[in-house]
Symmetry: D3
Amino acid sequence: MRPSGRSSNQLRPVTITRNYTKHAEGSVLIEFGETKVLCTASVVDSVPRFLKGKGQGWLTAEYGMLPRSTHSRMDREASRGKQGGRTLEIQRLIGRSLRAAVDLKQLGEHTIYIDCDVIQADGGTRTASISGACVALHDALFTMRQQGKVKTNPLKHMIGSVSVGIYEGTPVLDLDYPEDSSAETDMNLVMDEHDGFIEIQGTAEGATFSGDELMQMLELGKQGIREIFDIQKKAIAS
Amino acid sequence: MRPSGRSSNQLRPVTITRNYTKHAEGSVLIEFGETKVLCTASVVDSVPRFLKGKGQGWLTAEYGMLPRSTHSRMDREASRGKQGGRTLEIQRLIGRSLRAAVDLKQLGEHTIYIDCDVIQADGGTRTASISGACVALHDALFTMRQQGKVKTNPLKHMIGSVSVGIYEGTPVLDLDYPEDSSAETDMNLVMDEHDGFIEIQGTAEGATFSGDELMQMLELGKQGIREIFDIQKKAIAS
Amino acid sequence: MRPSGRSSNQLRPVTITRNYTKHAEGSVLIEFGETKVLCTASVVDSVPRFLKGKGQGWLTAEYGMLPRSTHSRMDREASRGKQGGRTLEIQRLIGRSLRAAVDLKQLGEHTIYIDCDVIQADGGTRTASISGACVALHDALFTMRQQGKVKTNPLKHMIGSVSVGIYEGTPVLDLDYPEDSSAETDMNLVMDEHDGFIEIQGTAEGATFSGDELMQMLELGKQGIREIFDIQKKAIAS
Amino acid sequence: MRPSGRSSNQLRPVTITRNYTKHAEGSVLIEFGETKVLCTASVVDSVPRFLKGKGQGWLTAEYGMLPRSTHSRMDREASRGKQGGRTLEIQRLIGRSLRAAVDLKQLGEHTIYIDCDVIQADGGTRTASISGACVALHDALFTMRQQGKVKTNPLKHMIGSVSVGIYEGTPVLDLDYPEDSSAETDMNLVMDEHDGFIEIQGTAEGATFSGDELMQMLELGKQGIREIFDIQKKAIAS
Amino acid sequence: MRPSGRSSNQLRPVTITRNYTKHAEGSVLIEFGETKVLCTASVVDSVPRFLKGKGQGWLTAEYGMLPRSTHSRMDREASRGKQGGRTLEIQRLIGRSLRAAVDLKQLGEHTIYIDCDVIQADGGTRTASISGACVALHDALFTMRQQGKVKTNPLKHMIGSVSVGIYEGTPVLDLDYPEDSSAETDMNLVMDEHDGFIEIQGTAEGATFSGDELMQMLELGKQGIREIFDIQKKAIAS
Amino acid sequence: MRPSGRSSNQLRPVTITRNYTKHAEGSVLIEFGETKVLCTASVVDSVPRFLKGKGQGWLTAEYGMLPRSTHSRMDREASRGKQGGRTLEIQRLIGRSLRAAVDLKQLGEHTIYIDCDVIQADGGTRTASISGACVALHDALFTMRQQGKVKTNPLKHMIGSVSVGIYEGTPVLDLDYPEDSSAETDMNLVMDEHDGFIEIQGTAEGATFSGDELMQMLELGKQGIREIFDIQKKAIAS
């Protein structure tokens, strides 16, 4: 029995609010249950130095948690003077994942900055970030096309992300904080719309996991990400 | 004529949403028109080293802007590795102002962390922060009293804050971004409920301002802050 | 009765020593009683990146305290690896104030660096810094004109600065450290030679201050700054 | 055909040199072909603050590359003033993996520092680090037992690590740099001696990978790690 | 012929002004010609952690240059966020040298902070710093004795420092900036009152120096330091 | 009697292993007894900004100690976020010394980076670094000549370095850690092949040293460095 009463293959309610703030080219509030992340995609008309003159674009991501998005207040990273290892690890994951969704040649000499800021945390902030950021990216690329900055849509496909894990011996989908904090295994998956894997990051906590358990988690994740694609598409269509 | 069509003594619509996030003891979203700031008040059951054993509490504040809360994306301070001078100046102002609202002796050996994070910026983020943070502080102190952490309410009085300035030669109340970015003078006021001044920070940009203009700005500010007190009280009563 | 025996509208002895050090284009030691600040103005023949090619100049300021300029030794900011919030706040104030004295167009593509380093602190270091730096600025601009770097004098007018406050219930001018450390209100004023306000920064400590008290402080400050203008002019004339 | 001429399931020659340096309680040079990593395990008789008085120990890891361990010289992280995201990600992985090998209760109030410093890089530095660090950990725990710092051996089981990937469409084991830099998928596995998974980190570069490809990679990795366990055991036995 | 017209064994005029600032227990302005350094010695009634409870004291030194103490303005180290290598090297030299003058056991559990801040630079700032700091140290220890913090004087002997070098082929004493910037060899000496060496730091620039040249420089330095001891003693006697 | 049983003028066994790693243009492992330092020389085809377009090259050095190269584990400087004063002092010494061996004009617009990383420390790491780095530099310049990057050999002469000191009242050559940690005087010498001095850095610890003792130490050092030149030459010849 999961703390939330959900069945093992059940996502939390996922909602996507587009145009959540007004300045960014793409701005999405995504909610996975009580987890709320503001994902913006910002277009800058230049590229990092290492890409100057190469006729292609770039996408990079940053991630942050508001100090009191969590149960007890965390130190503000800006105030501590550096981003922690967890933050850097997550923003590298978000950046790699979203770059897999974009044809950087078609993007031309522009940079997309993805910012994922956690307003409220209840487990799964990185998977919510990736799933929401993809919609923000979609919107930013649409804006670019309307402004004539790109001629064709550089978006290759949507990407979706969800966590799976083993909680009290049972593989479950989309762990919330009470599950995440005591799960034996925690795994984050990023996939494209054709069941192709973009990222798998699984970690055993305490016990190891077997090949069989891995298969069950991957199957749960694949189903969950398909549902997320549906929710993304409905949000985009509206 | 103001860009927004407001009269010179007219506030933008101010809304206060309490319990905006679930973890903080006080959590308020305050909106001054298009400016949106999330203000949380967090209670920590210890005091900074310099106050250990002195039988009193402390209140400190931090301020941040989400990277794309602004027209063009700003660098993330956590990523740059330090908070800028403007950020430090604002959070020092917020902290001093809110400390003026609390009896630190009655607070006991607890620290209140005020976090003001700008979700969307359109001028006046520091005055919105102070006005919203005071409601978050009220709620956090109420929680402390319910939990028996304080016996009497350490809140001495509410505080309110608003900006005034001189825009195209005319003193105006509560400048939005189009006004703020071209105003001749920009002034931030913090007051208590008895028309007492807590902070005055006025800066001439380009031209200087005269004693008469100062008087007019102070009068506009006093009226504006009275309105903010009304809005705070309605929010707290609801 | 003030600790120093001064009357409420009496400045400390103010002395200005020009050409205090030999390398800077402008170099002034200013003393407000026991407070001693070395103010230099340095000319650099380039502008920050954001102004390149715009045909105008820039002025920026930095402020520091020698570690033992104060009663007990302070940590050296260079050694701690960052400037504190108070330092940043003060150097931003000095920079804004001095920029109000210069026509940046006439300055051409040059940058003036103002450095205010406190040799000995006894209250009022920021107002002494601004009042002294204006003389150093005057001298640096004079040097530039002699060197043919500017054709006309970019100095629009002198600026002066003084603190006022409420000490034991009485408005007083130019607070020294014993007053400053226990004043109910502390306010710094920056004005030009025509009684125009450039900066007002007032903070209540403990109690608030009323509109009447504000008026009295402004009047004291205006008189004090007029005296400082006289002292600046005598120094420049000598 | 692999650049090195190896078959797809063939490891590079792996050598383990124990007692490579003299000060550390465990000191191992591990070589995966041309990749050479010095792994030390240092025992400190205290625990981090968050564990004080809890009767258990801790293990943490740090990773670094010598500036010219790579083809072109990299900036020294100590000189740049911060560790990069890749470094933090790797050292977090090493730390989590090795903690899975230790019973922290049995370790008592001691901390093991694992340092993995890359002397020469040719692909697979993180998997070599983990495989080598486990031997250094073994030796350090043995030393502790001899010194009476622990009564029973806190080592639960050995752990091994290897990379797998898809190179020119074919799943391959233990990628060297020429493969790694152009692989379509790169995956790092950490397992225990009973085929249990501790970490899976797979990333698609350019294309995605299918469930079938994942299965093949996991099978290659499992076989490769079994070989590494044999090499570790021979090294320990000698 | 030296640029200043001095003979090869001639010091610049050296002046020592005690009690230059009022807060420090010892405060000395030392001038070696145009080089002016403010040296303060501050007493703190505690010791660094590594000496707690060991019944001895400590002495440490910090060094800084005001940004416009030099020909062209240097970046402020506090603003750059770190002290440069030259600064650290010099303050380590000052600290080691002054510790050689103090019996740390007799000092008891107190720390002396030496701060050497260069007001104006014209060559030889480190040797002036050491020579001036020793007088500030003397005064601080005298204050401690008056306050009963030490029972006997912990000062073992005075120390003095001077630079020597080879300028246009000739060994010379006490190089000023025009000499220092083109000397073939630059050497700093620190000695005690009994012709004992405390520090020798010599560097060849361009050419090397021979054993004979070294002897001549050491002889010049010994004579110069004897003169400095005389000047220190006169200053202390006055 | 020295702890190692060596006579006072006896070096530890010195070995030089060229081509220790494969990527660097020059790569040398040097051992002074138990002290082991990896010295690499890397060629970069550009110069620092201050030399752009001046038709000359540059050489710079960095130094680091692996965290467990020492008796007890040191903090990793990359993790602490800054290099310590000792590190900066040593790398400045290495850089100055090696620049004395190179004709920077003949080097052309190239930069040589010297990296000295201590694998195992047992006293004398800076002198071993300099002596080994000179061989790595030789090899890198040879590679440049083969690649046609320089037309003539920019190496002016080899340089060698050794420590001398006073241990239990006796001048000794090449101090190991047990001697170094209790020596009364510690001195590092850098010389060229013609008995010319490049650097002398001597420090008294506790007692001072006399002119006679200095002479004896210099003589020991000169003999020791001659032996090091022989060892360098044999290594290069092989």
